[in-house]
Symmetry: C2
């Protein structure tokens, strides 16, 4: 069989059965081979930033990699920002990047250095030199992606390796299991927790699923340690019945308040708390002076197991965790503003919803209000590269067809990868998108003051102002086959949100807000 | 003064007075400094692929670089595909990529290896280590970009180099002038032209302006050599009064017909003719067997001067060039299809229009029909990375406010960087966009057959089919403040096109077509 067919067969045999794709001529044999391997689902996206963001959202929910199909260096480039987010999320992914045939040799048109860009992702990179290589490399790529720590694997596939015969599927390889944290390290941290505090834990990475937050909550309840979630978790289980972890703040000053007086900081698959950006005359590392830092678990470790072992070691009772109580706001009335919007979403969020949050400044109130909603899964922007939300919601919906997906999106971020709406319509995905349209890159209005750049002039202000023309997301959604509306009161919003959740297929609700900063 | 202000002052002093921007927090001081340097115009774009594509279109028309302002590695990544096109076009450009402050040191959130991605563009790359570096590096960057051969210069600007004092603007540096082609090389090629033919010239790069095509036409008329333009020229002057150069075809088989029997091929700042992609059992290099290849001029050479010297050397009279006659099709009536659409555009294209062509398969007829239109400038997709057209039209309109810009766009390509329409509306640019909506990546339907991948199954076919849902570009344009319509007959189209050209500001016309392949 040819390389393309062996590749898809190998992927499917290794459990990778969804491929987000925007192919070109060099990927034609891969596309043709989709019909030879019925188990592989191909999902067309209209831009590679959607492809890679959808693969990220899919993998966060499916707990296994999706494949992407990208067209040479420019296709990989278009996908790079969401690959950056996926890398920071620790998401497994298998990129198939088509290339010119190995014998092509001409430096024209689409020729570029793909390998260099792929290596930027710090994951596995391989290039098939012939069709005979393809099966083995594909199996290696999946194992690299799915093993601990998860990584982004990129297989560069020259067209002739795809079209030539002589290929065979390779059997799936066992991915590396997470490393058990040594007992001595557990005991070291246990001593810290038994000693003089105050102590704070920061939980992130793979440890923010239900088992992880439960163990962290046990530890907090039993030892009095403060327990935080990292600022932008890959996947956080939260809501009623799940122990609640307070997230570290976005603003460095807020984190400094959260960690004030802490003498011992324990990192559980989380980075050292640092400000999102550096500022003149502000600290970048947010650990209090004199505070000792201890690493319980890092990437590739069984961080959840370590938390549980630690809870056992300090004698925390199995039922010590404090489950969040159901705390639904009243159904709001009157003006539609960030607070009433947040209350409506929090009240109506269905059980087991997947909440994809890229709502930026205006969504802060929603984030607070949903803490007591029905239990749900939260996905956040792990790498700061905006444009992840709509694609990630698309991928999450494909991974979890039985769960409603609620996508909270900002106007500025949403415009980055708006094409995701088309795939939502095409695949009839149950995604309800709420666009918080404050007609601004409002976070930059906030940040401009914080960086100490002085009073902004009109040209500077214009760089954050998305008025003139106003973006009309109802029309934009309609242009891609997604029905949409623009409620103007809290009651209208709640009705529209409820209706959108009840109906199958995608729906978009635009909410007009005013800039706050 | 701080680094940001010195940077913008240096850029402006070196003639770079337009900056396409999508800034973030790390670029805030640059943004604030825009108000300190009134000569610099900042143009906000909603996605970095628009930023870099607009800078490409601007520079092709302004004959000088624009600056871009990009937000760290992900911003550069989002701009990479259109930077690839710009690199292949030989476009000068100065990218300013913000980065974390030099002392930041934490590997979190937006940290990535910017330098590696920037070097992928094979141009000048520099990093400011302190504010004192900024002026000098900015002057070097502009000189590198604007010198011969033009290149993409990328200045990585850590936030503290931007915000710290101690910077001074640097005086502009003289860019490298194009190299005069040695007389001995001119004489070698002159001997070829005087000898036994047949001879063909392929003219590209900087030699497709009016002086270059005139000299090439003189050569063809006097010596009988065939004269072709490269397949995807950066900027081709054409239409009535300008000598017409036939473009090499996109399909290898077509190029082989064009070059059949040629014994000597002369390259004038053009790549060796090669197929766009490799195919099983098809040639990739399209030079006939036994044909000798001669390079008259390469990148960085004064290719137009070389053509003129060559025409003199072979004794071609100064007036030997054959100017294209005005040949306007009748105003079409009846069904709106690629032929009548092309006829209407060809008939109504205004004098000195800038025609930005990314219309792919359905636009072939327009391309043929406009050969005899009023004189105009054609910009094409030089690097094969789709999504260049709408941004390039935006940049071209900013460079040439007195010239109408006509943007011919395909549905698939248009969806890549549709956000450009918003900037067209915001800046009130005189751009008329025609979307050839055949509801397909139709070129892939064509290519699937050509690569010999067999009869496509339903899953393969679905990868090229943009029905379900149909894209509605009238709504999409309206969502970004661009008025639009969807004529259904040739008469209606001609009326709409005429009206759009007559009115100031942007307008979009969607034309529904059927897939051909």
């Amino acid at each position: 069989m040819n390389g393309a067919r062996a590749l898809i067969r190998t992927l499917v045999d290794a459990g990778v059965d969804t491929c987000f794709a925007n192919p070109g001529t060099s990927e034609m044999h891969f596309v043709a081979a989709l019909d030879d391997v019925p188990e592989m689902r191909g999902v067309l996206c209209l831009f590679e930033g959607v492809v890679t963001g959808a693969a990220d959202g899919y993998a966060r929910m499916a707990d296994k990699p999706a494949a992407t199909l990208l067209h040479l260096g420019p296709g990989l480039g278009n996908g790079l920002a969401n690959l950056h987010n996926a890398r920071r999320a620790g998401t497994p992914m298998v990129n198939i990047v088509g290339d010119h045939a190995t014998g092509y040799g001409q430096d024209v048109f689409l020729t570029s250095d793909i390998d260099t860009v792929a290596r930027n992702l710090e994951g596995w990179v391989g290039t098939a030199r012939s069709s005979a290589d393809v099966g083995r490399l594909a199996a290696e790529a999946v194992a690299a992606a799915a093993g601990a720590p998860n990584q982004i694997a990129t297989l560069i596939l020259p067209a002739d390796a795809s079209w030539s015969d002589g290929a065979e599927p390779a059997p799936a390889r066992a991915p590396a299991a997470p490393a058990t944290v040594p007992a001595v390290r557990i005991e070291e941290v246990a001593r810290v927790l038994r000693g003089d505090g105050p102590v704070a834990l920061v939980v992130g990475g793979t440890a923010t699923r239900e088992a992880g937050v439960t163990a962290a909550s046990r530890l907090g309840a039993h030892t009095g340690a403060k327990v935080y979630c990292e600022c932008f978790p890959t996947r956080l289980e939260r809501g009623a019945g799940v122990p609640a972890l307070e997230r570290l703040g976005y603003l460095g000053e807020f984190v400094q308040m959260q960690l004030e007086g802490i003498r011992h900081l324990v990192l559980v698959d989380a980075d050292l708390p640092a400000s999102f950006f550096a500022y003149p005359d502000k600290d970048t590392v947010l650990v209090p002076d004199g505070c000792e830092v201890h690493v319980l678990a890092g990437p590739g470790d069984d961080a959840t197991g370590a938390l549980e072992a630690l809870a056992d070691a300090v004698g925390a009772p199995a039922d010590a965790a404090t489950a969040q109580e159901l705390a639904l706001p009243d159904r709001p009335t009157g003006e539609l503003d960030p607070e009433t919007l947040g209350a409506a979403i929090a009240r109506l969020l269905p059980e087991q919803a997947v909440l994809v949050d890229e709502s930026a400044t205006a969504g802060l109130w929603t984030s607070l209000a949903t803490a007591g909603s029905h239990p749900h899964t939260l996905l956040t922007l792990t790498g700061g590269a905006i444009g992840y939300g709509l694609p990630a919601a698309t991928g999450a919906a494909l991974a979890c067809p039985d769960r409603p997906v609620v996508s909270l999106e900002a106007d500025g971020s949403g415009m980055y990868t708006l094409q995701a709406l088309w795939t939502q319509a095409r695949e009839d995905l149950n995604v309800t998108t709420v666009v918080y349209n404050n007609h601004a890159y409002d976070i930059l209005n906030l940040e401009l003051g914080r960086v100490g750049a002085g009073e902004p002039g009109p040209k500077a202000k214009a760089m954050f102002d998305l008025h003139g023309p106003d973006l009309d997301f109802v029309k934009l959604a309609g242009g891609m086959g997604v029905p949409a509306s623009r409620p103007t009161t809290a009651e209208e919003f709640a009705d529209a949100f409820e209706m959108a959740l009840a109906e199958p297929g995608p729906y978009l609700i635009e909410v007009g807000l005013t800039s706050r900063f």
